[in-house]
């Protein structure tokens, strides 16, 4: 390969993605709580203040609606703000601004004003955090027309998807699975590149059964697929990467091949995206179906404190169990 690459964790890829987009485009700026001097509570913005100065890496007052609402005004004025909300569990004060305004500004003004903004937030469970630090509420945002929703699962994708989100003309909610912020490293090119929004990635090809997942659930799903492979069950693992707009073509194509599906997500079952994926399969590939579709999800309970978190989160054994059950029907 002619280009230089670096071996980065997922959170380092966030930082690298921000840095390379800020170098490319002077209109890109970062704002949020502790993003400047402190470099972000997860170090996702480390070094950016020194590199780009305080007009582009802005420590704000502690106010989520204020951060997102002012970013909307900046975006409408022509900037490409990337507000960071410290944890996705603290996005709700900004929810009104995201759904009532960011999502609707293009429609409301017939395109005169747009909102090319990326709201970044660490999301998901598994890090032994206090209350409100572990939820997965992607479905709140996928349900809102006008927004795009992205969840990366690898360092390479993180940089490319973040770049694509920043360059996108519409608002993107970019949810970063913090459980795997530092779980593994991957070669990431130093130069800017994009991974197109709305395209799923087949992480493992297989013939017998499709597993659809995203974010931090991708790794335990792949482990489960490896494990059942020893017994001759050949799983295809599809990482959706973008949850809105969802790559329904990839879902349907994989299902038509295998006729069986398991959907894995951390979020609660009821109203979760597994239902949307299942309905899409029903609409577009019912006659290929050979077994009930199995949903492996968080439970319909408030996210538990961490003494019980491991029961709540799907992990490889639960996923493997569901795969065997669906395969055996």
């Amino acid at each position: 390969m002619s280009t230089q690459s670096q071996n980065l964790t997922l959170v380092q890829a966030v930082r690298d993605g921000l840095k390379s987009e800020m170098e490319r485009d002077d209109d890109v700026l970062v704002l949020g709580e502790d993003v400047g001097t402190n470099g972000g509570v997860f170090r996702a913005t480390e070094g950016l203040l020194e590199a780009f100065g305080e007009d582009r890496v802005i420590d704000t007052p502690l106010a989520e609606s204020g951060i997102v609402g002012t970013a909307i005004g900046m975006a409408a004025y022509g900037f490409r703000p990337v507000p960071e909300l410290q944890f996705s569990g603290f996005m709700y004060p900004a929810f009104d601004q995201i759904v009532s305004h960011a999502a609707r500004l293009r429609t409301r003004s017939r395109g005169r004003f747009t909102c090319p903004m990326v709201v970044r937030a660490p999301y998901g469970g598994g890090i032994r955090a206090p209350e409100h630090h572990s939820e997965s509420k992607e479905a709140f945002y996928t349900h809102e027309p006008g927004l795009k929703v992205v969840v990366p699962s690898t360092p390479y994708d993180t940089k490319g998807l973040l770049a694509a989100s920043i360059r996108d003309p519409d608002p993107v909610v970019f949810l970063e699975p913090k459980l795997i912020y530092r779980a593994f490293r991957e070669d990431v090119p130093e130069e800017p590149y994009t991974v197109e929004l709305g395209e799923a990635a087949v992480r493992r090809e297989g013939e017998d059964l499709s597993v659809f997942t995203w974010g931090a659930m991708t790794r335990p799903t792949l482990e489960a697929a490896d494990s059942v492979a020893e017994d001759g069950i050949d799983c295809e693992v599809v990482d959706l990467r973008t949850l809105s707009p969802m790559d329904t073509d990839a879902i349907v194509e994989s299902f038509k091949k295998t006729g069986r599906a398991v959907v894995v997500h951390e979020a609660p079952k009821t109203g979760g995206l597994a239902g949307e994926i299942t309905a899409t399969i029903q609409e577009e590939a019912l006659y290929y179906q050979e077994a009930p579709i199995n949903r492996v999800t968080g439970f319909d309970v408030p996210y538990p404190l961490y003494a019980l978190e491991d029961y709540y989160l799907p992990e490889d054994t639960r996923i493997e169990d569901a795969i065997r059950e669906t395969h055996g029907v």
Binding site: T60, G66, T70, R110
Partner: protein, 373 residues
């Protein structure tokens, strides 16, 4: 600028009879603009009556009237320069018209046609219905203008009820911290639907809340267009060309101002509201004695800028303009269904294409008449 104002002292230029108050300074406005100010206020009053009537006749949807609030809107919007920005809530039809938004477009918006909000050629943000949310957009845009080095300020409208919202606090707090060129203009019309001003805040004035954010708050008679013009002009020039921080400054922010314009809405909150449930006629009559239109008219007659003939001519012009706008809005063809699919994103997603196509198939099969029955 002169010594800072106490946010409990109400700025007034004209008394209730349109005479210049003792010791008051008339703002520097040329004669033509003064007559224009009067014309805009007359236009707004007539438009408002016709809009309410259209709603009553079933020719328009729910509409928020502005009658009584013309001076606050016209006086402040006329203080803006070409490069400045206006962030309305949902009642500022008169301010928007001053900035070049045609009445026809305002009517189309309230007739349910989103194209009425497509303001390609003016620095006016679209209507914001959720209370106080636009305060943050205004702060962000003012901040952006400052970062760009543009010679522009932002004027943001909201009501007395909005000052109770979190976004009001966050917007003014950010504006102070980042010292952005914004004027926050509170149309205190005494009632947030049925809840009186006293129930919104224990503060003696809303203007004094500015001090907590580190900048100046100004109280003005919002039914005196000259006073409104004066304080808004001063606030806008301070936003763009701030004074150094004075010893008596409420804080370290030099650019933003909170203006509280005391006024009254003569009519209902919207056409869906019945104000007789929560306020008595005596109160309305008391406030009607402060009506901004006869006040400005008396002043302009006194100055020799208006007489019976010119007032009649203005009334005739205003009626013609409103009638033409209503005709044009009602003649406009309904938007086509594709319109709602085309603006959700820069490009239609696959799902949106499928849904738009499915709807077109239904229209072809059944026709709009049967489909919308």
């Amino acid at each position: 600028m002169s010594a800072r104002r106490d946010p409990r002292d109400r700025v007034q230029v004209l008394d209730e009879d349109g005479r210049v108050r003792e010791g008051a300074t008339v703002p520097d406005i040329d004669d033509e603009s003064l007559v224009e100010m009067y014309r805009e206020m007359r236009l707004a009053r007539h438009f408002d009556a016709r809009a309410v009537s259209l709603q009553r006749q079933g020719r328009m949807g729910t509409y928020p009237p502005l009658s009584g609030q013309e001076a606050a809107q016209v006086g402040s919007a006329m203080a803006l320069s070409d490069g400045d920005w206006l962030f309305p809530s949902y009642r500022e039809h008169a301010a928007a018209h001053v900035r070049g938004v045609g009445l026809e477009r305002t009517l189309r918006y309230w007739m349910g046609d989103e194209r009425g909000n497509a303001l390609d050629d003016v620095n006016v943000f679209p209507v914001a219905v959720p209370i106080a949310t636009q305060v943050l957009h205004a702060t962000g845009a003012a901040w952006a203008a400052d970062l760009r080095g543009d010679d522009a300020a932002v004027l943001c409208y909201f009501g007395d009820g909005a000052t109770s919202e979190g976004d009001f606090h966050e917007g003014l707090n950010f504006a102070g911290v980042f010292d952005v060129p914004a004027v926050f203009f509170c149309n205190n019309n005494q009632w947030a639907i049925s809840v009186p001003r006293e129930r919104q805040s224990a503060s003696a004035t809303l203007a004094q809340k500015a001090h907590a954010y580190g900048f100046e708050g100004v109280l003005v008679d919002g039914m005196d267009p000259l006073a409104v013009y004066q304080v808004t002009s001063e606030a806008l020039s301070k936003a763009k060309d701030p004074d150094p921080v004075a010893d008596d400054a409420p804080g370290r922010a030099t650019r933003p101002t909170l203006v509280e314009a005391i006024q009254y809405r003569f009519g209902a909150h919207t056409t869906a509201d019945d104000p007789s449930v929560y306020r008595d006629d005596d109160e309305v009559e008391r406030w009607k004695r402060k009506d901004p239109i006869p006040r400005l008219e008396a002043y302009l007659r006194e100055q020799g800028l208006l007489d019976d003939e010119s007032v009649d001519a203005i009334e005739a012009e205003v009626e013609t303009e409103v009638k033409a706008a209503i005709d044009a809005a009602e003649r406009t063809e309904r938007p086509v269904p594709a319109d709602m699919f085309d603006h959700a994103y820069a490009e239609r997603t696959r799902r949106l294409d499928e849904q738009a196509t499915a709807l077109e198939r239904l229209r072809e099969r059944y026709g709009d008449e049967e489909l919308l029955e």
